[in-house]
């Protein structure tokens, strides 16, 4: 009898908790849906430039083989983690990438005030911005049948892994999607010119010098690959020499940034060291390690530190251009 009573109490409690929670949900779940008329005022005008040429709807094939109908004049674009390209092309998205409250600080000069959208693009979050065009980078974002769901919200163009890993390709592709191929080509030409000028300056001031970019985060070091991300800028665009250690690790690693032990770092014979420090707020204890102090560039005082909010951890035309500025201002001028 006692057991039965206790059981009934358990059920009762469960039901009570349930109803309490139901009530709680009822009060504050929903966020008001932005009405179309209300948001036109704050709506970023993106395509005023192309107003001169009468635009029409176009059909393009995306990186995954979908045929996508691009609206004549997309006004409300979401291109999460591809904002760099939009900024370069002078287009403002309706929402910008965020992960755990982190945003792309280096773009905020242009993107300031644009609301954020979680990096994994939940359907209803996407829908709440009423986009008229979605541009998506890597394949994995739309895997598992998600493409079909996004495509119901707005035309969805996936760049695909091959394109998204090469910012030049991605820039031209996004230019094509936004009917701004000429602008994209201009941006690219301007960048190549800037890189060539910088390379000439570097060869004059610091001939045959090597450099490495190291990222310190949570007491672990990562080194940039010699062909990707900021490594592409340093070695291919600016012509710095690749240190042997960087070559070795890039050959084995798969990521843009590959882990490197402190012991391995001690062998790094780079003349200059670019340090992206994500541990600044927590004391960067790793930099006080005696081994760190034996690294050639550290001994010679050729370390250039940048915060994690700088463009070094990203890539794209704007990020790469900012990296060149950093190199010219901090390393070459010295």
């Amino acid at each position: 009898m006692f057991a039965t009573k206790r059981k009934s109490i358990t059920i009762l409690l469960g039901l009570m908790l349930m109803s309490l929670w139901l009530a709680a949900c009822g009060n504050n779940n929903n966020k008001a849906e932005p009405s179309t008329s209300g948001s036109t005022a704050s709506q970023p005008a993106s395509a005023s430039a192309s107003a001169s040429a009468p635009a029409t709807e176009r059909k393009l094939t995306d990186g995954l083989g979908h045929e996508v109908t691009i609206p004549a004049n997309p006004q409300r674009i979401i291109a999460s983690y591809l904002e760099d390209y939009l900024v370069a092309l002078g287009v403002k998205p309706v929402a910008q990438w965020t992960v755990a409250n982190g945003i792309q600080d280096y773009l905020q000069g242009t993107l300031k005030g644009i609301p954020t959208i979680p990096y994994d693009l939940p359907f209803e979050a996407v829908m709440s911005f009423q986009p008229d065009l979605l541009i998506i980078g890597p394949n994995s974002t739309v895997e598992g049948g998600k493409y079909e769901q996004y495509a119901k919200i707005a035309p969805t163009f996936v760049l695909g892994d091959d394109t998204v890993n090469d910012w030049r390709k991605a820039l031209l592709k996004i230019g094509e999607v936004l009917n701004k191929s000429d602008e994209a080509q201009k941006v690219l030409d301007a960048y190549e010119q800037k890189a060539a000028d910088a390379k000439a300056k570097i060869q004059a001031a610091l001939p045959n010098q090597s450099v490495a970019a190291i990222w310190l985060v949570q007491n672990s070091f990562f080194v940039v690959s010699d062909k990707q991300s900021s490594g592409d800028v340093l070695y291919n665009d600016l012509g710095f020499k690749v240190p042997a250690v960087v070559k070795e690790i890039s050959a084995k690693g798969t990521g843009n940034w590959n882990p490197i032990s402190l012991e391995k770092l001690a062998d790094l014979d780079a003349d200059h060291l670019i340090l992206i420090n994500s541990d600044k707020g927590t004391g960067s204890a790793a930099l006080n390690d005696p081994i760190w102090k034996t690294i050639k560039a550290v001994k010679n005082g050729h370390v250039y530190e940048y915060p994690s909010s700088s463009s070094w951890l990203y890539y794209g035309p704007v990020a790469s251009s900012q990296m060149i500025d950093n190199v010219l201002n901090d390393i070459v001028k010295k």
Binding site: M18, M127, S140, K152, D161, N256
Partner: protein
């Protein structure tokens, strides 16, 4: 059973079972309604009714039918599947702490997904049904491994070995998974991580279609076997004495449990603890008889996952927490509580 006249005691038990099942069903319906209403975009109850009866705008239809309802249906199916799978595994191992996550089925499925993501040339997006299929292969393989290690000729499946080997296989698979995950690039890792955390958010009707056959075939089958499970629960010797073909029944039921767990895990990612908690809750509510325990467990599991998913969508809007994490937050303390109680 009903052919026999009922004792007052049995009658009371039956009444109680009916009451519990009804209460659980009502709670599911209520949560279902709340869940339809939960989301970033506001749908008033009036909008909801209008949309349900076919009069919604295109936008409301999309939100309700494509985004929310598919997810709700998946939650209910997964909850049922994992709960029944857990109930069967607990009966077979005669251990209240067994469930598909603990004996390695979930991590086996996860490993295959990881292998696929790491090595599949990503020129085209994988079709929706491919991940469930792969997870099923992985889960089945892990179960086969555990099973062959626990099977002794003439003695059948040893309950204790089943659990211990399961834990060992689970640890081994997890280790391989970690080693492999160091070799893939960050985007791929992110994808695998989200999948392993147990997220229902990407669900759509094609996933429902992929999962439904398993649920529709295997759950009624397990219900049909309820009396056999009761007998198996008495222990191998006694069950043999009562005339059950123990080894055969064990294998068939184990296969059913693996089928249910892998197909659920395939769709939802690694949602743990449901298979553990739901049968327990059911046992406390309606007692040991599997004829009553199985339906109660299925309903409790459905309620748990549906409530957890609704909560996951609501808590940190607009970001969605993986449902598996919410279930684990509820499940872990309950698990510890069970361990504590068993010790006493």
């Amino acid at each position: 059973m009903s052919a026999y006249p009922m004792s007052p005691e049995a009658l009371r038990k039956r009444k109680r079972t009916v009451f519990v099942l009804t209460a659980l069903a009502v709670a599911i319906v209520l949560t279902f309604i709340v869940s339809m209403n939960t989301g970033l975009i506001r749908l008033s109850p009036a909008d909801l009714l209008r949309t349900l009866s076919g009069g919604g705008t295109e936008r409301q239809n999309l939100i309700l039918f494509d985004f929310r309802l598919s997810r709700i249906v998946i939650s209910v199916l997964i909850g049922m599947g994992l709960a029944i799978s857990g109930a069967v595994l607990q009966a077979l191992s005669r251990n209240a702490l067994a469930d598909s996550g603990i004996i390695g089925i979930n991590s086996g499925a996860g490993l295959v997904i990881l292998l696929f993501v790491a090595f599949y040339p990503t020129a085209t997006a994988a079709p929706a049904y491919l991940l469930p299929l792969l997870a099923w292969i992985g889960g089945g393989f892990a179960a086969l491994l555990v099973f062959t290690m626990s099977y002794r000729r003439h003695k059948g499946l040893s309950p204790n070995r089943l659990l211990l080997n399961g834990v060992a296989v689970n640890a081994g698979i997890s280790a391989v998974t970690i080693v492999l995950s160091l070799r893939i690039n960050p985007e791929q890792y992110q994808f695998v991580l989200t999948w392993m955390a147990g997220s229902i958010w990407g669900s759509n009707w094609s996933l429902v279609a992929a999962l439904l056959p398993f649920i529709l075939v295997l759950i009624p089958f397990v219900f049909y076997k309820a009396r056999t499970i009761n007998v198996l629960g008495l222990g191998i010797e006694l069950a043999t004495g009562l005339g059950a073909r123990v080894s055969r029944e064990q294998i068939v039921l184990l296969a059913a449990a693996v089928g249910l767990a892998s197909s659920c895990v395939a769709v939802s990612g690694n949602i743990g603890f449901v298979g553990l908690i739901a049968p327990h809750l059911a046992r406390r509510l309606v007692g040991q008889r599997y004829q009553a325990l199985l339906p109660a467990a299925a309903l409790a599991g459905a309620l748990l996952v549906l409530a957890a998913d609704t909560f996951a969508r609501w808590l940190l809007q607009p970001t969605e927490i993986p449902t598996g994490i919410v279930v684990a937050v509820i499940g872990a303390p309950y698990f510890l509580y069970l361990l504590f109680r068993t010790k006493k």
